[in-house]
Symmetry: D2
Subunit: 339 residues, 4 copies
């Protein structure tokens, strides 16, 4: 059993903890929180030992009915690997901490590539992660881009990619971040950082990305154009997507055409936390004009990287050397229901 710690039991951390718990070859040995909160209470309810950064706050946790298992150092001693789920930028400060503890570590896409000098996507470069001490799982948007680009590149060859990312402004439970009534260019310059970030995983792809933020919470939406090297028919493209185990094709008969309806559907089919771990590609949008492939895909910012973290753990621990085997293990344990 791989012993996993989650440093930062928040939006991503709590999902990774549950995903780890559902795997047969891993277990959660502890999670951490900096302040008493609803999420800290949930950790207790789920039976995850709770560790805290600042032991002087132990009293305030215990007054709130939250038993403290120890310090983060205590937690790291028990772990083979730690998943860093702290907010973007904060994770970098933890590196020396993990080095001192001699523990393997995974960061999220809010950190820079340089933190681990290796950026991960299961379908693209699983094998290169085998045995590594440090790995960064790329962000939700980059993960979503890598999956579909890699799939098209394998099947048809990719000439170039032009993508516009319309991003949710904040996660559903976040009450201080906006915007309320604005479309924000983020960044106001072109290209956005997403293209270069894809290149940390798929270095040879010619990609230019443009990004905005809008007043929505449920998912990001990508408008993507991929120029293929080899002409493929719409049906051939759809067949590749249909077979892919981290792409979910949203069928026209669902009449779903928005992030909100898609979230409702994922909730209704019983996924925990209504999580969409796959790219949600709208089948009706998929179209070929000459060698150009056009499509819309929804990316659930809270969910798609969760399964990538699981595969990264398995690769780094060197237990499974075949990517498809790991991906299948991950998916099956989480009971991926078909869309």
């Amino acid at each position: 059993m791989i012993k996993v710690a989650v440093n930062g039991y928040g939006t991503i951390g709590k999902r990774v903890a549950d995903a780890v718990s559902s795997q047969k070859d891993m277990e959660i040995i502890g999670v951490s929180k900096t302040k008493p909160s609803a999420e800290a209470l949930v950790a207790v309810q789920r039976g995850y030992p709770l560790y805290i950064a600042d032991m002087s706050k132990k009293d305030s946790f215990e007054k709130a009915g939250i038993p403290v298992a120890g310090s983060i150092e205590d937690m790291l001693k028990k772990a083979d690997i730690v998943v860093d789920g702290t907010p973007g930028g904060v994770g970098a400060a933890n590196k020396t901490f993990y080095e001192k503890a001699g523990v393997k570590a995974i960061w999220q896409g809010g950190e820079k590539h340089e933190i681990a000098e290796f950026s991960f996507n299961a379908h693209a470069n699983y094998r290169d992660a085998i045995g590594r001490q440090f790995v960064r799982v790329v962000s939700c948007n980059t993960t979503g881009l890598c999956r579909v680009i890699k799939a098209m590149d394998d099947a048809f060859g990719v000439m170039k990619v032009r993508a516009v990312m319309v991003r949710r402004g904040a996660d559903p439970h976040v009450i201080k971040k906006g915007p309320i009534d604005a479309i924000v260019l983020d960044p106001p310059t072109i290209p956005s950082h997403h293209g270069p970030d894809v290149n940390t995983v798929l270095p040879h792809i010619d990609i230019v990305t443009m990004a905005m933020i809008v007043p929505a919470t449920q998912m990001h939406m990508h408008a993507i154009t991929i120029e293929l090297k080899k002409e493929g028919s719409r049906d051939e493209v759809l067949a590749v997507m249909q077979k892919h185990n981290r792409i979910g094709l949203i069928k026209p008969e669902t009449t779903i055409r928005s992030s909100a309806e898609l979230k409702e559907y994922v909730m209704d089919i019983g996924r925990p936390r209504a999580d969409l771990w796959e790219n949600g590609i709208f089948e009706a949008s998929v179209n070929m004009v000459g060698k150009e492939l056009f499509l819309f895909q929804a990316i659930h910012q809270e969910a798609d990287v969760v399964v990538e973290n699981i595969d990264a753990i398995r690769a780094m621990m060197g237990e499974v050397s075949d990517p498809e085997t790991s991906i299948r293990m991950t998916n099956e344990a989480m009971q991926f229901t078909a869309l």
Copy 2:
């Protein structure tokens, strides 16, 4: 086993269907849908026989991979009772239909009191519903008001109630309704219909309500002032709420102070569809100024009436005569987790 049909498998209908399925003394014999859609596919996935209003559309359902069990008339023949989950105003037109089929029927609060000549809330008037053919379960907002008013009235006597309801503009998956950036007086006159609607359940209460609609999807929020007859301390009031099995006290240690954070918490503790069936009363807001009780409560528009429908079924079928027994049966079957 009580045989229940759900006519209108939408936001409320799909939740009632799952709630019925979880009860030991009831079962779903069929649900209905007017058009193929994501929800129709979910009904199939959950194993509910699907009936349709217009048999000429059978082909379009079957092309979408949705087997049709028959017409709504066929469904009603198999049912002891039908829960009408059609959109507000549409349900009234179904009355002659149900009369002809000789089936008991429950409507939702979008219909007028006159449709059933009896408006239901489990804690307030369960016994009066026993054996009735037709019952209307009051709306989510009225249900939320009735629960807290009735509890305070039983414990302290209620002199008068003044309440402002800040309502969500649309359910989370609804993409055509607004507003986007407005606070809408709905109605622009005072009082709103909610006060008179409470009086259909609790006729003796002096209540004036004011209502707005805002650009949010997750829950309604009520700002309530109740003048008590008998002075009660804040602790006594909290004790009554704590004991109540359809009031959830949101503890200050959760640091939750919004509809969005509350929804996340309800999701995290594992409730199906992140449903809050109880009134979510914010403990930190509860305050006494003289004999006036002030409080904020969150009302989950998609969920609080679902459990009331279950109790209404039980009362109308005459199987259980004691309200508390039915309420406890309902809650236990749905595995109410403490907030």
Copy 3:
């Protein structure tokens, strides 16, 4: 003086009425409304004679303090030309009405090209509109696309255009339309209708468009890629934009990077109704990658077509034959302030 009637004094109609009034060679002889409302009161306040469709409603107008000048037929008798500002789809029904009255007519982009068999954009095809009886001014989004595409085509030649339109969900004062918290594919198929609509004005352009709707009210935002025939440097492209009298370059020193900040700025510089009649191109976003030009532009849905209507009037009445002369007259009369 050209005598102009505005049939439908709403979002576009009221702006066209004010724009007409500011021109030296035109005057408003009447505007119409179907119901008493705030806008009807504003028409009275501005001194526009108010005509109504249904004379049986005359009393209800006059009770609301709104004098009625007559029926729409009465209004058309006094007009040389009518600008149809009725809601999308409604305008088509008015055609026989205008034919019978023998009046020239302009429709908005909510109507189909076929209604007038000529779609107008001042910079692209002013001369072809001279003397016509019927003209359709293309929609706000199509107008915004035509302006920048035509300018680039004239200067460098355009190989192809790929554009993603992120559209506001409703105008600021509209309270019933959404979405509230969703990104909606509209349409869910690719291409959207905007590309073919550009081709009604610029038939030879290779263009594919993708469109979404988001919960914002203030402006549309376009992410555009234009492949040029002749290589142009970023500075050359900016120079073309700088000189264009219906393109406003938003300077980086304003630090504006959203629809909301841009609207505030346009308000602050004193524009009536904070109207942005030009394309708002974000200078910081303009970038060349090889022969591909990338840019973001904001399109104020309520405003950019207003000035096009004025030029269409002038062309159709045959008073001014040179496009640039008309455009300059229009702009000067409205006191275009530099951004």
Copy 4:
């Protein structure tokens, strides 16, 4: 001529500057900004000398085309009085600065009462401000409450006030603040600070307030209950409001019933920046139940305090001793159009 400086040319400051400029007995001698921005460019365009806090930034202003007139100390030397429009909490730090310069100063409601030891509302306590060195104009919400409470108290006597404030989340041009899809209790406890803040102006009023924040930008909305001492009919109450020169009654014939439609109307009638300086009381909502008065009012957070600042200047400078005279001068100079 009273020489006025505006320290902080932002949302409130820019409006105060324009309001000062429109008065016959005052002039703007300078405004300040900390960074080059759209608003700094607007100050230049409007001809206001621009001063800056940190003279080391002079170059960055001038590179952006914004001439710098000097430091804030230079500005204060030229002023009789300074209006502090810096963000809430920042203004307090400026106090010693103003004391040293020996200049009179006005702070906004984001600062505490203690900063000036006098909180101002023109209709309530103008005379008490005469000759003072320091005054705090209460916040937009408190201003709106004071106006209507004072008017009712003068006419009928006020027994008690219970009010729920549904507040906009951010000003229209603010892109970082939320919430996006949440109703936030702010504060989560009852009462909110607004009641005590009203008591800084009207100490004898029994008032309890409850406050929320919603995803809207255009105006706050108040749901108010006032128990009167002396019974008044609805018509008598409306007559008092009708006569009041800072209350605007929104007539039912406008069909306006939201913040958004009201903002559009105020824009359409030609108010600069679509500013509503009065309380916008919805006539249709005004209702008496026994001695209880119920009403909804819209409060434009950017505007209602602007005119109060003008009166505060006049009182502090001791030029006009009669409140009604000052209020009339202010209103007339700004060309209050009737709603």
